[in-house]
Symmetry: C2
Subunit: 478 residues, 2 copies
């Protein structure tokens, strides 16, 4: 359904142009919907989204339950938590009319669901036996973005926001849940071969109404960071607002402690951007809509024999559980290679007359490695190649991110570093100094308590004021 297969992708070096064009050429998103900031998922993109969110569900379902709360939040509920509404009031969409009648109470399209969920939690939670409670939902949420919008990254309808909301008996238990959520997000991104940097957002950048916010960022090909997950310790702010109380073991009424954490379709933006190359998408097998494409190399005489062999290979792999496509279209093999490379298929199997004779298939990975797989060990051979493929992706992406992290001890060094990546600097913790960094380098203090292996952690005098500083992550973010 995308336009003709002609022309080529801009080089990935020109990241913004590459990204925008890849999205429609690989049939992930169509940007031509007639409202700014709203996009359409093509079937191929949707299949990728399904697999990504199925991975997410499998992780969450270990100890969370999925539920579903309404989209529309009455203004009266949204206004209950003062900090929270202040944080969102400029970007909420308001429903004011039903048919031709004005509504008595305006309804917000959820920008996030605390104010839809917590009134219900107040009804559901009675006793310490009801805790911990861990629920999540995957829903569309809305932000009236006035900044430049960008598919999967900055949208007005976030079609796939996974938000989890947990309730606990103490501040410490909620803290442990924060750590559990970070571990879960690490596992999720590791499965996608997306390297992450975990840090604690500065106080002025935390979630409105939270005690603190831990963020998960990655470094995009152009060196800018993309926030791809956040975990918030909510303390008892919301439980006091919404009266979420429980009877403790001693029979006393106590306010509960809460956390919430979310990941949006930015996870897909990250994997698309980090792994893709000049020829298109490169997808981790675990989420690729098509994991193996089989291309029959049909030449004159042995056409039927080759076609039958290709179909047979397809059947064997499908029944072994692989997502397979046999491309029988009547176009030349080169056009098929181009088509499936654009769509990021991890492995291509070529079946030609010579392969029949030698009882093997030629396997070519999306990263260009070639290996012959003998017929008799087809399934095992494919599994081995795909396993080493995801390791290669993990290495490549890890090396990319690692190469974009520098240590800076002066502001000019920061300016240089953030032109192509992020940087670690010693910082005293004061907002004034963070503002000075931003003013001089157009980069922000993204976080402290940076969790990153194999990295020097600069401490010592603050890069601005010279007072005692601790390691902070600085970069330009999407």
């Amino acid at each position: 359904m995308a336009e003709a297969e002609e022309g080529t992708l801009p080089p990935k070096e020109d990241f913004s142009a590459w990204y925008n064009e890849l999205l429609w050429r690989a049939e992930l998103m169509d940007v031509r919907y007639p409202v700014k900031g709203l996009y359409v998922w093509y079937p191929f993109g949707f299949a990728l989204r399904r697999n990504v969110y199925s991975l997410m569900r499998n992780l969450l379902d270990r100890d969370h339950q999925e539920a579903l709360f309404p989209l529309l939040i009455p203004e009266t509920e949204l206004a209950k938590e003062a900090e929270h509404i202040k944080g969102f009031e400029e970007e909420v969409y308001w429903v004011t009319h039903g048919g031709t009648s004005p509504l008595d109470v305006r309804l917000a399209l959820r920008p996030t669901s605390e104010c839809a969920i917590y009134p219900m939690y107040a009804l559901w939670i009675r006793s310490h036996a009801d805790l911990p409670l861990r629920i999540y939902q995957i829903v569309n949420t809305f932000r009236y973005e006035t900044k430049h919008t960008r598919p999967l990254i900055r949208l007005r309808e976030i079609t796939s926001f996974k938000e989890a909301h947990t309730v606990h008996g103490s501040w410490e238990e909620a803290s442990m849940q924060v750590e559990a959520a970070i571990a879960l997000y690490r596992e999720f991104y590791d499965a996608l071969a997306v390297p992450v940097i975990v840090s604690r957002r500065p106080d002025w950048d935390k979630f409105p109404g939270a005690d603190f916010t831990i963020a998960v960022d990655t470094v995009m090909p152009d060196g800018r960071t993309l926030q791809i997950g956040t975990v918030h310790h909510l303390g008892d702010h919301f439980s006091r607002t919404f009266q979420i109380r429980f009877e403790d073991a001693a029979g006393q009424q106590q306010y509960a402690f809460q956390t919430c954490y979310g990941i949006s379709e930015r996870c897909i933006a990250a994997l698309v951007s980090l792994h893709g190359d000049d020829r298109g998408l490169v997808l981790p097998p675990v989420v690729a809509p098509v994991q193996v494409v089989i291309v029959p190399i049909v030449t004159g005489k042995r056409k039927e024999e080759v076609s039958a062999a290709a179909a047979g290979v397809g059947r064997r792999l499908a029944s072994a559980g692989f997502r397979v496509r046999v491309d029988t279209r009547d176009i030349r093999p080169g056009a098929k290679y181009y088509y499936w490379e654009m769509r990021g298929v991890p492995l291509r199997l070529e079946v030609g007359p010579r392969d029949l004779d030698s009882r093997q298939v030629m396997a070519v990975t999306r990263l260009g490695e070639k290996v012959a797989i003998p017929d008799e060990s087809l399934e095992e051979g494919v599994r081995t190649v795909l396993d080493s493929f995801i390791s290669r992706l993990r290495e490549r992406a890890g090396a990319h991110v690692q190469s974009r992290i520098r240590v800076s001890r002066t502001l000019p060094e920061v300016t240089e570093a953030v032109a192509s990546g992020v940087t670690l600097v010693p910082w005293c913790g004061d907002r004034g100094c963070a503002d000075a960094i931003e003013e001089k380098t157009r980069a922000s203090v993204l976080g402290t308590d940076v969790r990153l292996e194999n990295c020097e952690r600069p401490e010592g005098p603050c890069i601005v004021c010279g007072r005692e500083g601790k390691t902070a992550l600085v970069g330009r973010s999407y």
Copy 2:
């Protein structure tokens, strides 16, 4: 999370009270959300919803592709098709503000997605080679209902609307797709053991903008019908409005022909209502969140031995692919039976000391049949019992619906029949006569061309005017 397990359900005879109370007691929906017509899916209800929609996806994925279009439709697009907007304008929710700014163009929350999808189809479709196109999405849609709302049946946020939209080269091909969609819906409802009556809606009741509408209804326990699916032949109305054209084989530009068809969460209302009984839900195994619950009957001495055996049975069945729960809670077995019966679990296995001695488990279905299953053929035994369970459900529900269908040849007979079901009458086809039926019996002509096996089809003089009539379905609907 539901309130205490005390008290009992109203008898199913008192259907409305039974339905409302069952929804929260079985933890399907919480109706206490602070906006009329919006409801919350509890985790257990959501698990049922997941299974039902996964069944639906499996059927559709055979020859449809899933995609996702935005929720917000600009007023300018919605207004393009005159009949369509007229059909929906009284029940559309309007977004008028983003933050504190009024929007230039008001945005509708989709009541259905023709006007979001078809502008994209106009871009996607170029040639006959692009046809047929069969796409579906599962999304939340909105209706500003002024009538009495009811969970899963009449809502303001339909959280789970599955809508398919297809495009074809000719009116005939679109007609064939209408038949294919009906067959698909039959298969879906047959899997859920929900009997359906298929008929063609009268012209004044068809989808706004359609050539004709085929509806799928069931008969609820109180005798009222519930529309649980519709299939619309759109002709070329929308393709002319949205300029969906293709180049045919002869190189000529042609307007395309379209169909659309949808099923909402009413499918869950139907299965809950038809199968449930005075003790709660009764779920078809294919969608039951828990298919088998294992209750250890632990008595003094052999407690550990019994617990270990119950856990072992759980593991065996889980690895055979069943959705299993071993209920190890420290409450008496009777309370566990009550709890799982309310939640519709098809099969309960009791494991006690005597069962250990006789190397068997006692299986009790949700319909009360008891059978001992020998240890060595556990998996096979469970499968057999569940297979016959769905057949029993199908028989019961089929017998219920069959018993609620009568033939009437006079208006007093209609009045009597529709007090507890539906009726087939000869009708001339005129709106005037349909209005007269409605006025005198408070029941409507639901459809013609009624597809129903094992049923007399009254023809002959119209029940109102005496002119030549054909069989029509008459009933009171939700």
